[in-house]
């Protein structure tokens, strides 16, 4: 049955699903922030359960960097380049949401089939949220036309990996987790710069147009 | 005293007599034919009603031996239900034709029509009663060929030619698959008797799939539905009613007889039925929505309803395998009940379409409108038919759909494979979507045909057709209502037909009470609020924003009603609107604008078209082999001989 961590991860995954159904950059970012916030909460619950104090620092790091800084920076960026909404590529955006629900169900079955790390007291169904986040992130990247969407998708994917690591292992070394956080920050900044560059040189940030650059 | 066999025999004879009479006599035969056919139908119905639960077998031997097996017929509850339906619809069709053919007079050869019609009914009756494969196939062929003859009645038109060719192709294909399957079964069981065959054996998957495929093609289920929208508009309305109301049910009957009634089931066939049923219900209703020809629309709606019936059949098969007795019984009842329902309301709608056609001489929705004041009786029947087809309570269509929903719901809640639970849930979602669309389809059709202002002079000057043509749809409408409100006993009766589920108690719906309460409310509020205002009603023109009278063009028409749906599902429907803007300075001041919406059937353009092209290409190459030289043929024979010897030696 549900425990707290499970509930929180699933909530995060639901936010990711809702995110995949919106084409508006600001809604996406808001939902991303919510999703990450619930991941932070899940992390906190995990810290409570396992009694590992360094996880608290990680939680604060997540909240500061991924819940506040990154969405704020990206929404500033979106405003700057007037990338209000994404028309979507390959799949209509509402359908993306339904597909990601399907992926959610799939990850539920997948999680049930995972070998259990019984020794460390993790529960297989915790992985549902993590796997679903990962898949949703990838789907999100696939179905967005603009570079901003790719960044958000990438961040969601990264959230999924992080959540998987937190819930399914005893916990990575503290320094690595903090390092990952910083990496994410740097990646987003660089990604933002790229978005600017693309915008500048092509007057729009439609990545499907980049295909045309091939010889 | 059992009158069953004589009654059926009499029906057979009368039909045959009527067919022969139509061809032979030269004078006013129409009335006699009608009388004979009608009498046959009456015998048929009364025979079917007498069958009850006792099975009986009746063999024709001697001269009717046909070389391999005698023509043998079996009377049991299942065949009784379907032959009763056949009798009823055929009776209606015969009476209706009598009046309706005047509309087509000059364009149709009446002799030919009556002969084919009688043979058609005869063939269907044979299929419903057949006790062995030979009888089945012979009747099946009579049915297919005579119906094809009825479809081609206006062979002179290119549309009719195309319809006939497609229909003939489909029936040939269906017969081919059926015969192949039956041969295989004969090989396996060494008998032609259906009673000795077991269709659901695991090692006989291939032939049972072949048989099923033949039935799918005949029933016009996705992706074999393409003959329906061609054949129905082309055939006279009374024939369409018979084809859509009964003939496609022949496949359902065969499915029930072969695969469902023995209580076992093949899981693969279940999957195929569920998949094709689900797709065709969605596909059919979606295409129905964007049609603007009444009969084409009704044809697509048939695809939808057949899809639902096959979906229920698939669930029944699955539940039988999974030993879910209650669900299997529900789905079984749903299959029969919805077949009957669909037979009733669809033939009703086709009869009404015929009445409209004969009054306005057009089947185009966008040239009709405002017929409610001109054809009040037809309007009433059509309204009931439409509400039944949209599965609205308290009509029979709702009960059928409710049974399907209920079986899906129980499947979703049952303790079976998780994937099946999820699938059942998704199917409920899909069916509700289909239901919503069906409602939109029939609301659109009813409103565009009967309400508002007439869209063409012909519709303006239409008048009600003859009493007979009104009475038949009206009678069917009453039956629709009765089957809906008093569904409980029928459901129990149908459930008892299955040998294994006769003891299962099914959930029931107080539909009669609800309908009664509803009616009481409606009458009460009418009396309370609306009637006393009778003298306080003033009549004025529809709100025109003060500009002046509204033109017929200023009301939504069929295509515009469906346009949003067309754009939402544009990819499936291949829905494209072309614009043609003309004028001296078309950029600034266009003088003419024309918008044309076209749809290309995805299946026809992407699958059947290329497949046919491939066949033609191969034909062209293979025809070189057939040079007409005797030496060449001898060479072939020789080569085959050598090849066989080689194979024998190697083996």
């Amino acid at each position: 049955m549900m425990n707290e961590v499970n509930l929180l991860t699933v909530t995060a995954a639901v936010f990711a699903i809702m995110m995949s159904g919106s084409g508006q950059s600001r809604t996406n970012l808001l939902l991303y922030a919510m999703q990450t916030f619930f991941i932070a909460l899940a992390c906190l619950a995990q810290a409570e359960a396992k009694g590992s104090p360094e996880l608290y620092t990680v939680v604060i790091g997540i909240i500061v960097i991924k819940v506040l800084t990154v969405p704020y920076f990206l929404s500033w960026l979106a405003n700057k380049i007037e990338a209000r909404s994404d028309p979507g590529a390959f799949l209509p955006i509402p359908l993306t949401m339904h597909v990601s629900i399907l992926l959610f169900a799939l990850s539920h079955f997948l999680a049930l089939g995972l070998p259990l790390f019984k020794g460390i007291g993790s529960v297989a169904s915790d992985a549902t949220g993590a796997i679903s986040l990962l898949l949703t992130g990838m789907l999100f990247m696939l179905t967005r036309r603009f570079a901003l969407g790719q960044i958000i998708g990438f961040l969601t994917l990264e959230n999924g990996i992080f959540l998987f690591a937190v819930t399914q292992t005893k916990g990575m070394p503290f320094i690595i987790e903090m390092g990952i956080l910083l990496d994410v920050l740097v990646a987003v900044m660089i990604g933002g710069l790229f978005v600017f560059r693309i915008q500048k040189s092509f007057e729009h940030i439609d990545v499907t147009q980049l295909n045309g650059l091939k010889e | 005293m059992n009158f069953v066999t004589p009654l059926f025999l009499a029906a057979f004879m009368l039909l045959l007599a009527s067919a022969v009479l139509a061809i032979v006599t030269r004078k006013k035969f129409s009335l006699v034919c009608v009388a004979l056919t009608a009498l046959a139908c009456v015998f048929l119905i009364s025979g079917a009603l007498q069958i009850g639960r006792s099975d009986s077998l009746w063999k024709l031997s001697g001269p009717f031996y046909l070389g391999v097996a005698p023509l043998s017929f079996r009377f049991d509850a299942l065949s009784a239900v379907f032959s009763a339906l056949l009798g009823l619809i055929a009776l209606c069709a015969a009476l209706f034709s009598h009046a309706y053919l005047k509309h087509l007079s000059g364009r149709i050869n009446q002799k030919y029509y009556w002969c084919s019609l009688n043979l058609f009914v005869l063939g269907m009756l044979g299929v419903f009663l057949a006790a062995n494969a030979i009888t089945f196939l012979v009747s099946w062929e009579i049915m297919s060929l005579s119906s094809a003859a009825l479809v081609v009645w206006n062979f002179s038109e290119s549309k009719g030619q195309k319809a006939a060719l497609i229909y003939l192709g489909a029936t040939r294909l269906a017969t081919a698959f059926l015969s192949a399957g039956f041969l295989w079964f004969h090989h396996a069981f060494d008998s032609w008797d259906f009673a000795k065959w077991h269709f659901n054996q695991a090692d006989l998957l291939v032939p049972s799939m072949m048989v099923a495929l033949g039935l799918f093609i005949k029933s016009g289920i996705w992706p074999f539905h393409i003959w329906l929208p061609y054949a129905h508009p082309s055939a006279p309305s009374s024939v369409s009613a018979l084809m859509s109301g009964v003939m496609v049910k022949v496949a359902v009957y065969a499915l029930l007889r072969f695969f469902l009634i023995d209580g076992s089931g093949s899981i693969y066939l279940a999957w195929v039925c569920i998949a094709l049923g689900a797709i065709s219900s969605f596909w059919g209703v979606l295409f129905a929505f964007v049609q603007s020809d009444i009969k084409k629309l009704l044809a697509y709606s048939t695809v939808e309803n057949l899809g639902m019936i096959f979906l229920a059949a698939g669930i029944c098969l699955y539940a039988q395998v999974a030993q879910l007795k209650e669900i299997a019984a529900l789905a079984f009842v749903a299959v029969i009940f919805h077949s009957i329902n669909h037979g009733l309301f669809k033939s009703l709608l086709f009869f009404c379409a015929g009445a409209i056609d004969s009054a306005v001489h057009s089947r185009k929705l966008d040239s009709l409108g405002g017929l409610i004041n001109k054809m009040p009786a037809t309007t009433g029947s059509f309204l009931i038919g439409s509400t039944a087809a949209s599965a609205l309570p308290p009509l029979n269509g709702f009960v059928g759909k409710w049974l399907i929903y209920q079986s899906l719901f129980m499947l979703a809640a049952s303790e079976t494979e998780r994937a099946m639970n999820v699938l059942a849930m998704i199917l409920i979602g899909l069916l509700s979507f289909v239901g919503g669309l069906a409602l939109a389809v029939f609301a659109k059709m009813f409103a565009v045909v009967f309400l508002g202002r007439p869209r063409s002079p012909a519709a303006e000057n239409a008048s009600e057709c003859s009493k007979l043509m009104n009475a038949i749809p009206a009678a069917l409408a009453v039956l629709c209502l009765v089957c809906g409100c008093f569904a409980g006993p029928l459901i129990t009766y149908f459930c008892r037909m299955h040998p294994l589920y006769s003891a299962v108690s099914l959930p029931s719906l107080p539909i009669g009470q609800i309908a009664f309460l509803f009616l009481a409310f409606a009458i009460f509020f009418y009396l309370a609020f609306l009637r006393k205002n009778g003298e306080r009603i003033r009549y004025f023109s529809t709100w025109d924003c003060g500009y002046g009278s509204l033109l017929p063009k200023m009301q939504v028409n069929s295509q515009s009603f469906a346009h949003s749906v067309g754009t939402i599902f544009g990819h499936l429907l291949q829905y494209v609107t072309h614009f043609e803007i003309g004028g001296h300075d078309r950029r600034h001041f266009p003088e003419r604008i024309k918008a044309e919406t076209v749809m290309i059937s995805l299946l026809e353009s992407r699958i059947y078209g290329p497949a046919l092209a491939l066949v033609r290409l191969l034909n062209r190459h293979f025809s070189k082999l057939q040079a007409g030289s005797i030496h060449l043929y001898l060479l072939y024979v020789f080569l085959v001989l050598v090849a066989m010897i080689v194979i024998e030696v190697l083996a």
Binding site: Q24, R26, T27, R84, S85 | S292, D366, D544, C545, G546, Y547, G548, L550, L551, K553, M554, Q555, V556, N557, S558, Q559, S560, F561, A562, H563, S564, G566, T567, T577, F579, G583, H584, D585, H588, F589, P590, E591, R592, I593, K594, A595, E596, T597
Partner: protein
């Protein structure tokens, strides 16, 4: 300003006009006639700030239509046909612009009675384009609308939810304004002039005053010039706030719409303090303004300050709402090419890259110059953005004018008679765009012909083009984003 009059031969008129319009600094102001015997083509030179009138005399009552080469001319020609019965030969869509079914075929309001007595009748084509194809249906909207707005008939031909064609029929309000303006004494002219369109009272009064002043050779005192500019900006502010509120109401944001209505009340208060009338009526007169506002300026400044702050809050919450942006983006696009060819003016013009603003060109040098911004997307969003921007500009201008208000008299006496045989124009940037009043005098110095060109006249066609291929449900949004005037059009 007094315009230069040049006679032009009928044959060379069209080539000359085409050549004139090749230059980006040149505009076509107005095509009309004085008494039905000639064409008067008013041309504006934005570089040298001059107006020029080409007068083409012709015999008979038909001439070769310009419309096929100069699309902007089509509405002028339709109006000419209605008013004088002058037939433009080869006009692609000669339908009534100012009259409707109620007027008999003989009636042409501006023709002399003698000509009417000849009993010449005109066939008016009152049909609508019948868009062909199966599934096309028509939605007639108006002239009586659900809201309290003026009459106009829109005939929308639709395919499902898509608009294929829009035909606009106006002229339900024909009041004979132009005729009446030639009949009343000069002292009463201003009252009729400002009633041409009552939401544009100040701009109409200023344009009328400017034309009369040029004909009378008056020099308006500096203070009066500034006070007039103040009135004009207040009117602009009030109407832009009103239009934004209307847009918010059409989008369904009831609360924001209500806030805009309330703020419009404050702007009215400014107008009342300045002129004594909330709608700026009876304030501007030839020679100056009617009332000195010195006593109320302190109160004026007190009202203005919080207004700016509150307006910013409401506008921000409206225009930065992602849903609003999304809703307006790409709706009712009018491409810059069309805007140029149909000579669009004002907000709608500037949203489609027509940067023309009368204040930049023709206004008095002593007035502060406004900031001008233009967009090139041409959709409802750009029109809304321009409107928001102009609210800011108007507030800036009001503050600047208030800070540097010169002292001195507010009016000079107006003469009884005007310069004979000349044509003068008053051009003002009303809140909808370029507004022209043209007065021509006879040999005794009386007004012979008074022509008004409302900004809406240029823009109605723009609306008809912009809604093509849009959703039917988006028509009100398109219409509101153009914000055109019915009464200004139906003179």
């Amino acid at each position: 300003m007094i315009s230069i009059i040049e006679p032009k031969d009928e044959m060379e008129l069209l080539p000359a006009l085409k050549q004139w319009l090749q230059n980006d600094e040149h505009r076509l102001g107005l095509i009309t006639s004085l008494d039905g015997k000639q064409l008067v083509t008013l041309l504006l030179d934005l570089a040298s700030r001059q107006a020029k009138c080409w007068i083409t005399e012709f015999a008979g009552d038909s001439y070769r239509s310009f419309t096929s080469s100069v699309p902007q001319a089509h509405w002028f020609e339709r109006a000419l046909f209605d008013m004088y019965g002058l037939l433009p030969k080869g006009h692609p869509r000669l339908k009534p612009a100012l009259l409707n079914e109620a007027y008999s075929g003989i009636f042409a309001p501006l023709r002399s009675l003698a000509e009417h007595d000849e009993g010449k009748s005109y066939e008016r084509d009152l049909s609508y384009m019948d868009v062909g194809g199966e599934g096309v249906y028509e939605v007639p909207v108006g002239p009586v609308h659900a809201g309290i707005i003026e009459p106009g008939h829109f005939r929308l031909s639709c395919m499902g939810e898509r608009i294929l064609n829009l035909e606009i029929r106006l002229g339900f309000l024909h009041r004979g304004v132009e005729k009446r303006l030639t009949e009343v004494p000069l002292t009463k002219t201003r009252f009729i002039a400002e009633a041409v369109a009552s939401d544009t009272a100040a701009a109409n009064a200023i344009a009328s005053a400017q034309a009369i002043e040029s004909l009378a050779g008056l020099v308006v005192p500096e203070k009066a010039v500034c006070l007039r500019a103040l009135a004009l900006e207040i009117e602009r502010l009030s109407m832009h706030v009103c239009d934004l509120g209307g847009m918010a109401a059409d989008l369904g944001c009831g609360a924001i719409s209500a806030a805009f209505s309330r703020l419009r009340g404050s702007v009215f208060r400014l107008g009342e303090l300045l002129s004594g009338s909330r709608f700026l009526r009876a304030y501007i007169l030839p020679g100056g303004v009617a009332r000195d506002a010195d006593r109320y300026l302190a109160e004026f400044a007190r009202t203005l300050k919080p207004l700016r702050k509150e307006l910013n809050v409401v506008i921000d919450s409206f225009i930065s709402d992602a849903m609003v942006l999304e809703r307006l983006d790409g709706v009712g696009v009018l491409s810059p090419a069309f805007a140029k060819e149909f000579g669009l003016v004002g907000v709608a013009g500037r949203a489609s890259a027509v940067s023309y603003d009368v204040r930049k060109v023709f206004q008095n040098k002593i007035l502060p110059e406004p900031r001008i911004r233009f967009e090139s997307a041409g959709d409802a969003l750009s029109r809304t953005k321009i409107r928001v921007f102009e609210i800011g500009t108007s507030l800036d201008l009001i503050e600047q004018l208030l800070a540097s208000l010169p002292s001195g008299p507010i009016a000079v006496a107006a003469p009884e008679l005007l310069v004979p045989d000349s044509i003068a124009v008053g051009i003002v940037e009303a809140f909808r765009g370029e507004l022209i009043h043209m007065i021509s005098t006879d040999n005794k110095g009386r007004i012979k012909r008074y022509a008004v060109k409302d900004p809406s006249l240029n823009n109605w066609t723009g609306l008809a083009i912009a809604v093509r291929n849009n959703f039917l449900a988006d028509f009100p949004v398109c219409n509101k984003s153009f914000g055109l005037s019915y009464s200004g059009h139906d003179l």
